[in-house]
């Protein structure tokens, strides 16, 4: 089976600064792939190269079997993306946001209508379907944004710190949604800096200063670094002075 995502020495430089430095990895189909790192480690830049928002400086990558240089637009049909910045229109209602994104992805009208019902019901947001998004609490908005990002049934969904600033209960619910999507065969590529969330992922890569410092299942990583939690693994890797050795 072809991998969902492959990256080979993928690099992005902004002037003198190398944001992403020759990262190489593969994401299998249906996998929940965690992309960990401190702020500024290059996670967002990496994601933006994969989903076609940013042109790589060097290296190779393919997403859903398509080359990121040549077929960015074909990739876009097959992926969903939820950005770190809030990505819904605050001055549109819940329904209008669903309609708009459904329309942009070219879903048929009755499909949009069906999904809208299902999606709103699934989130328990029936009373708020006609409310402006800006009036919703952050946790709800994030769940809504995720549902909209996978509305067109993409093969792969990229989530860039989807749970930033969200309370623990909502985060839990959010991960249940991620699992459900993965169960349906969707590949999930998620960045986070919550180490407990790393435990939920199938495999985890940890980025430090633009490089991938470690990549394995959470279990194997803990064993490798003799750590009790992913948090310890992470601290181990990012401790100052470590990468001189």
């Amino acid at each position: 089976m072809l991998p969902a995502i492959t990256a080979d020495k993928l690099t992005k430089r902004f002037g003198d600064f190398t944001a992403v430095n020759q990262i190489t990895f593969e994401v299998r189909k249906g996998e929940i792939f965690g992309f960990l790192g401190a702020n500024g480690a290059g996670k967002t830049t990496a994601i933006r190269m994969l989903n076609g928002l940013s042109r790589p400086t060097a290296g190779q990558a393919s997403v859903a079997g398509f080359d990121v240089y040549r077929h960015a637009e074909k990739i876009k049909r097959r992926i969903g993306y939820m950005s770190q910045k809030f990505s819904l229109y605050e001055d549109l209602t819940v329904r209008e946001n669903i309609q708009f994104y459904g329309g942009i992805y070219g879903l048929p009208l009755d499909e949009i209508r069906r999904q809208m019902k299902q999606l709103v019901a699934g989130l328990g947001m029936e009373p708020y379907a006609r409310s402006l998004v800006k009036s919703l609490p952050l946790g709800w908005r994030q769940k809504l944004a995720f549902s909209i990002a996978i509305m067109h049934r993409p093969e792969i969904v990229f989530l860039d710190e989807p749970t930033g600033g969200v309370d623990p209960i909502t985060r839990r619910q959010f991960w249940e949604m991620i699992y459900k999507a993965a169960d349906e065969g969707m590949t999930v590529f998620v960045t986070t800096h919550y180490m407990d969330e790393a435990e939920y992922c199938g495999r985890v890569s940890i980025m430090v200063d633009g490089r991938i410092a470690a990549l394995d299942t959470p279990h194997a990583l803990k064993a490798q670094f003799h750590a009790a939690s992913m948090n310890e693994v992470f601290l181990n890797l990012t401790r100052p002075g470590r990468h001189q050795s």
């Binding site: 940013s54 950005s83 819904l88 229109y89 708009f100 990229f158």
Partner: protein
């Protein structure tokens, strides 16, 4: 095509959701149209005149009376010292003063000639020129009167006269010119403003990223952004013309179809420029300053407020790139003179080329990927 419609719908919802936007987009321009059209009158009426009458004779009073009766001048004061009159001008209370020297009447009757002195505040050169022309005409008229009274009718009257006629607008009604012109400006302002702020706003909030990861095509996106504003601007034009017809009696000599047909192309240029600005800027603030920069140049160099013919040749060349100048001229030609399709062929071709270039540039410059 469907994708485009979804964007169009979204833009409309967003514009009309803000309660303040609707009146700002539709009401404010129309109010401005109705009020400001009255302001754009060059004609110099109500020139403030101060008379210094040292003579206090029958003739000097008759001359003063003629000035007052002319309708062009308002006598704001009279005094017996030129210094006082000069102070009036310094204060801005008088635009000119007429100095009638002592012995004016006596000199005219005995020596058959007399002098007068006219001092005009010439800070506004054109107004001063006109004030001078009016005043001189009144004095000449007075001169003729006196001459025919004393020397018999027809004495020395020149037999070559200059007659002038004003075609298409014999009453020199400036509304017929200004209302369509100001309407063009307002439609342009609204259109360029809405389109110029649009994409850049999505950039600033971050929603543009979400659009950019979708499979949407660049041209679909630009058309989807263009269309709502195109419709709004056309609606605005229609409302404005209706107002012009109802309130100002603007004659529609030529074909309205032609006006709207031209507007359709013209708006593509204006909106395309807005979108282009939107694609090259990062913040709404930048976009606004750049849009403002061009708008004010387009407006002041459109030939509406001051004639293009008066500009130096290089500035006249610049106006060849000013879309507003074209539309103002087409409005004037079609609505007031009844020019037809063939008469404005050149304007249409230029605008068509312009529209293609600007929108091509906007599509080309809009990057889905950095």
């Amino acid at each position: 095509m469907r994708t485009v419609l979804f964007i169009v719908r979204k833009e409309f919802v967003q514009i009309f959701r803000h309660k303040v936007m609707l009146p700002l987009i539709f009401l404010m321009p129309i109010i401005q149209l109705v009020i400001l059209a009255h302001a754009a009158d060059y004609e110099v009426r109500n020139i403030n005149l101060h008379i210094v009458d040292h003579d206090l004779s029958q003739y000097s009073r008759r001359l003063a009376g003629k000035f007052q009766a002319s309708g062009n001048f308002i006598l704001t004061g009279s005094s017996f010292s030129s210094q006082a009159a000069f102070d009036e001008i310094q204060k801005g209370d008088a635009d000119l003063f007429l100095d009638i020297p002592a012995g004016f009447q006596r000199s005219l009757l005995r020596e058959s000639r007399a002098g007068l002195q006219l001092s005009v505040d010439a800070v506004n050169g054109v107004k001063a020129g006109l004030a001078n022309a009016y005043a001189t005409a009144i004095i000449q008229d007075f001169n003729e009167e006196v001459r025919s009274e004393l020397a018999g009718p027809g004495a020395g009257k020149p037999s070559l006269a200059i007659a002038s006629s004003n075609w298409f607008n014999p009453e020199l009604n400036y509304f017929t010119f200004m209302v369509p012109g100001i309407l063009v400006l307002l439609v342009t302002l609204v259109g360029m403003f809405l389109s110029g702020m649009n994409i850049v706003k999505e950039k600033e909030i971050g929603t543009i990223e979400q659009i950019n990861v979708t499979p949407i095509r660049k041209y679909q996106f630009i058309i989807g952004k263009l269309l709502p504003f195109w419709i709004i601007a056309n609606a605005e034009l229609a409302i404005g013309l209706t107002v012009g017809w109802l309130i100002f009696d603007i004659p529609f000599v030529g074909s309205l179809w032609l006006v709207f047909g031209f507007a359709a192309i013209y708006l593509l240029v204006v909106l395309g420029m807005g979108l282009f600005i939107s694609t090259v800027t990062e913040t709404q603030q930048q976009a606004m300053f750049i849009a403002w920069f061009f708008l004010i140049i387009f407006i002041l160099m459109s030939g509406l407020f001051t004639p293009i013919e008066s500009m130096p040749p290089w500035a006249q060349q610049i106006t060849k790139f000013n879309p507003v100048a074209y539309f103002v001229e087409v409005m004037r030609m079609v609505l007031l003179k009844g020019s037809g399709l063939m008469d404005i062929k050149r304007h249409i071709l230029v605008m068509g080329g312009y529209a293609l270039a600007v929108n091509g540039l906007a599509v080309w410059n809009y990057r889905k990927r950095s």
